[in-house]
Every structure is written in structure tokens, then in C-alpha cells.
């Protein structure tokens, strides 16, 4: 248990050491997204299920920030440790694969949730400025559930990809060619109700749609998909990626690049 707590503490300390990259950058990007899409373009958009476009955008951006940061936290931690040689320390020390996976994934949850919280606070300020009211969380338990599960899933994906990757390029490629398109097409900026039925069907094959809409339900009380379905798909995704992370640690190399 001390091994797990140490790795978890190390993960938190690590991202706090580079706070500009981990916290300030997401703050600036969410500020810009909300300013351009939410405030400027949002005034020309119709309300959706009774909520303004600005409000609709906030949980999407929260989940987008969480997904990116959760993935980045675990993957960059492992890749930089591979590069520096620190990762060998973990393999030769008496810590189990499960301790490593849980500690790193929970580190991802903390960083991702922190970024989501910043996005929520910035969005709430915009809401107050534009509409004269703060954004109240409709279903806090649901919101927390989707934040934690999404953070764990993308922390575990980060672990798996980092163990599979043999260069920094491969890590960037996963982020640019898989993660980013799925996030953008997962309903962050638009409701899938506005899409052609064919593309609605295609969108429903994107697992990120369920995480984004799950959080949207938690924050706003509205969603494009059934929340129960979203919760079940999220948990299935969690179980799958937990298994994948375990295989990655068992089969992957801890040796330095």
C-alpha cells in the first residue's frame, strides 16, 4: 500500500512541478474556446434542450480537457521515465503491476479533474457575465462518476500506449490521429441531434460520446444518449482498458530507451 501511495504522490508532485504545462495551459485554452465558441458564436446558435450553447459547451470542454490531461499525465510520466531510466526502478522494486496502474491512473484522474474544474469555473464566470447566473451542477454524483471513470480510462489508455510506444512520435501520433478526432466527433461542440441519421448512428459508435454526454447530464441534466447506457458503456470501457493496461505492464518493457 505504501508503494501505491508513493507512486500516486509522485505523480501528483510531478505534474505540480510543471504547473504551467499542466494547469495554466488548459486554463488559457478553455478560456479561448469559451470566448470564441461559447460567447461569440454561441449567440448565433439556438438553445438545445432548453440550455444555451455556452452552457452546452462547458461540460463538453470539461470532458475534453479531462481526457487529454488524463492521457497525457500517465503516458508522459511513463515515457519520460523510460527516457531517464527511472522506470527500471519501478520494475526492480517490490511494487505490483496493479499498484502501478491504480496509482498512475488516479494521478490522471486528479490532474484531469483539476483541469475540468478549472474549465467549469471559467465557464461559470462566462455564464455569469453573459446570463447573470452561475452554472449549477444538476447531478453532482453523476458528474463525479463520469469524471472519475473517464479519468481512469484515459489514464489506463495512457499507460498502455506509453508501454507500446518506442518513440515520442508514436505517442504524439496516437494523440493526434485517434484521441483528438474521437473527442471532436464525440459531441463536444455540437449535439448529434443536428446530424444526419446516418452520422448519428456512426457517432453512437464513438465511445467518447457516452462519456461526454454522461458528464453533460451530470452538469446540465441534458444528454443526447441514455445516461444508464452511458454509465454501462463507461464501466465496460474501464474494465477493458484496465485489462489492457495489465497486459501492457506484463508484456511491455521497463528498460530505458
Amino acid at each position: 500500500m505504501i508503494g501505491f501511495l508513493t507512486i500516486f504522490r509522485r505523480e501528483i508532485a510531478r505534474f505540480l512541478k510543471v504547473i504551467v504545462q499542466t494547469v495554466i495551459t488548459p486554463f488559457v485554452s478553455s478560456f479561448l474556446y469559451l470566448l470564441i465558441f461559447g460567447v461569440s458564436l454561441g449567440q448565433q446558435m439556438d438553445s438545445h434542450q432548453g440550455v444555451s450553447y455556452l452552457a452546452f459547451l462547458i461540460p463538453g470542454l470539461m470532458m475534453m480537457g479531462l481526457i487529454n490531461n488524463a492521457f497525457q499525465n500517465s503516458s508522459s510520466s511513463i515515457v519520460s521515465s523510460k527516457f531517464s531510466g527511472d522506470l527500471e526502478d519501478l520494475r526492480v522494486a517490490p511494487v505490483t503491476d496493479q499498484e502501478i496502474i491504480w496509482a498512475m491512473s488516479l494521478g490522471s484522474v486528479v490532474r484531469g479533474t483539476l483541469v475540468a474544474l478549472i474549465t467549469y469555473l471559467v465557464g461559470s464566470l462566462f455564464m455569469y457575465y453573459q446570463q447573470g447566473e452561475w452554472l449549477h451542477i444538476a447531478h453532482p454524483v453523476s458528474a463525479l462518476f463520469f469524471l472519475i471513470v473517464a479519468g481512469l480510462i484515459f489514464g489506463m489508455i495512457g499507460i498502455s500506449v506509453a508501454f507500446w510506444a518506442t518513440t515520442f512520435d508514436q505517442l504524439s501520433a496516437f494523440s493526434a490521429f485517434i484521441l483528438l478526432p474521437l473527442t471532436y466527433l464525440g459531441g463536444v461542440f455540437l449535439s448529434i441531434e443536428h446530424l444526419h441519421p446516418f452520422w448519428q448512428m456512426v457517432s453512437k459508435l464513438n465511445p467518447l460520446l457516452y462519456l461526454i454526454n454522461g458528464l453533460r447530464y451530470g452538469v446540465l441534466g441534458v444528454s443526447d444518449v441514455n445516461v444508464g447506457t452511458a454509465a454501462v458503456i463507461s464501466l465496460v470501457g474501464f474494465a477493458f482498458f484496465f485489462g489492457l493496461a495489465r497486459i501492457s505492464l506484463r508484456k511491455g518493457s521497463f528498460q530505458r530507451w
Partner: protein, 305 residues
């Protein structure tokens, strides 16, 4: 008797390779001894260390640490081992003391300040404890790696080329520290390229070549068995000498090469030259380097000792 390390018939073949990197290696490290694993580059030394630490899974054979198979209960065996890897770490996020605190935590030690400060002082790093790794010199990084390996007070220390690129003074300090650890009961498995150091430091050595251990034994015994003694005798005048050990004569200087086991007095008597004609005798003993070169140049596998 339970030994700190027993390796039996260890085989390691890497993926996509048709050759075994380690071919049925067997040796043991006894309690409170320094055992040197010597061999040319690519002989398989680091692969053996990786198998002990579970960084690499053996293809065949067993590795036991204090009687426990490393593949069966690695949580137990890892707690007994401290490892200093060949390449220096380059961790950029944390300072020296933080690195040692995290390292302690990996070994289940929550409060280890006293031990950390002891090691920092012992390895002359205390004043640098708030520096990050990139601010340390090469020698300091090496010492930090040794401190990391010792935070949990291991009973078996694995040193993989720990002094590569380290200056002579620092090397001497490190070896004194290793001797001190041995006197406290720690067993040490050392790989090094510096054979003169291995000769001074190691109680026993194993010589590995092309993935096979070709010789294991007490350091002094290996030197004695595989080297010759060079003797130079300066006579007062040129004398007729009939000896199978005579190699060269330059003026009044006679050069001999004699087996280590031959007593010097007996050899001089056999020369049949009056001792009053002997002006000077110089003896050059064989060393581990000579023994090492002789052993690795032999092609016919295991050399019994």
C-alpha cells in the same frame, strides 16, 4: 545453507534472436562476500543482472535469492536486492532528497529520513540534497544511484559497472564503502571492466564469455592457476644457465618465467649458480588481467578449477 544468490543453468534468448545471450550459466554468491562477474562487452553480464531483478524473464533455468525463486515470489526477492544500473539516471523533475524519499516508498518505507541522511552524508551528497539530477556531476549521479540502491538496506547489492567513467579518487572511495558494506554482512555482485579493481576487491570472481561462465573461483586462486611469475636476475658476470624457464638474456640480465606454484628458493637452487654472483632479483607476479585474457582466449568451454 541458504545463499544470497544461486543461479542454476540460466538461459536467456531474446525475441527475434537465434542465439542465446546467456547459455546455461550457473554460479552462486555467498554471504558477506564480494563476487565479481567479469567478461568482455556483450558477454551477458547485464542480462544476468536483469534476470535477477526480473527486468528480463529467463528462457530457462532458475535464479534464487535467499532461497526463493525470483519468478515465483518476486515481491520477496526484490526486497532483498539493491540495484545500481549501468547507465546513470537523468530524472529531471525531483531533487536528490525527493528521489531517495520516493525510492524508500517503493520499498514500503514511509519514514526513512534517518537512513537517507546517513547515505547522503556517507556518499558526500548531503550538501547537494536539494539539487536536481541535471545539476549534479557525473560522479555525484553515480553516488546517487548507489544511495538509491541502499535506501532499504538490502542484503544483496548488485553493482552493474558502477564505476564506468568515474575518476580514480571517487572509485577508491566507492570501493571502500563497498568493503564496509561487506563487513556489515551485505553480499555484493559486481560487474566491472576494471580488472585491477576486481582483483583488489572481489573475494571470488566468475569469468563469462559469449554467454557462458568459463571459470569460477577465488580471485587469488584463479590468478595463481592461470598466470606465470616473471623473474629477472642480475648476475655479477655472464654465467652459463641451463633452465627450462629461461626466456631471454640481455648482457648480465637473465629473464625467466616460472609457474606460480614453484618455490623461488628451489628455482634459484636449480640454476646451479653460486648465490654470491647474484646482484639483484626482481619478481613480477601475474595478475587477474593476465588470467582473464588467458581464460577468455581458451575456446574449449568450461575451465575446471
Amino acid at each position: 545453507m541458504i545463499l544470497p544468490l544461486e543461479i542454476h543453468n540460466l538461459v536467456k534468448r531474446y525475441k527475434n534472436s537465434s542465439v542465446d545471450a546467456v547459455k546455461g550459466v550457473s554460479f552462486e554468491v555467498k554471504g558477506a562476500e564480494i563476487f565479481g562477474l567479469l567478461g568482455p562487452n556483450g558477454a551477458g553480464k547485464t542480462t544476468i543482472i536483469s534476470a535477477i531483478t526480473t527486468l528480463e524473464k529467463p528462457t530457462d533455468g532458475t535464479v534464487k535469492v535467499f532461497g526463493v525463486d525470483v519468478t515465483k515470489d518476486s515481491m520477496f526477492t526484490k526486497k532483498q536486492i539493491g540495484v545500481v544500473h549501468q547507465e546513470v539516471i537523468n530524472s529531471g523533475f525531483f531533487d536528490v532528497e525527493e528521489i531517495l524519499e520516493f525510492q524508500s516508498g517503493y520499498y514500503g518505507l514511509r519514514k526513512n529520513k534517518e537512513r537517507i541522511h546517513f547515505l547522503l552524508s556517507k556518499l558526500a551528497l548531503y550538501e547537494h540534497r536539494n539539487k536536481r539530477v541535471k545539476q549534479l556531476s557525473g560522479g555525484m549521479k553515480r553516488r546517487l544511484m548507489i544511495a538509491k540502491a541502499l535506501v532499504h538496506n538490502p542484503k544483496l547489492l548488485l553493482l552493474d559497472e558502477p564505476t564506468a567513467g568515474v575518476d580514480i579518487r571517487l572509485r577508491e572511495d566507492l570501493w571502500n564503502f563497498v568493503r564496509e558494506l561487506r563487513s556489515e554482512g551485505t553480499s555484493v555482485l559486481l560487474t566491472t571492466h576494471y580488472l585491477e579493481e576486481a582483483e583488489q576487491l572481489c573475494d571470488r570472481v566468475g569469468i563469462i564469455n559469449l554467454g557462458s561462465v568459463v571459470c569460477v573461483g577465488a580471485t587469488k586462486e584463479i590468478v595463481r592457476q592461470y598466470t606465470l611469475r616473471k623473474v629477472r636476475i642480475v648476475f655479477a658476470e655472464q654465467v652459463p644457465v641451463q633452465s627450462p624457464y629461461l626466456m631471454e638474456v640481455i648482457g648480465k640480465d637473465y629473464f625467466f618465467v616460472i609457474p606460480q606454484e614453484k618455490p623461488l628458493g628451489e628455482f634459484i637452487n636449480e640454476l646451479g649458480v653460486p648465490t654470491q654472483l647474484v646482484r639483484d632479483i626482481q619478481i613480477e607476479e601475474g595478475d587477474l588481467e593476465e588470467a582473464f585474457l588467458k581464460i577468455v582466449s581458451q575456446k574449449d568451454g568450461q575451465v575446471p578449477l
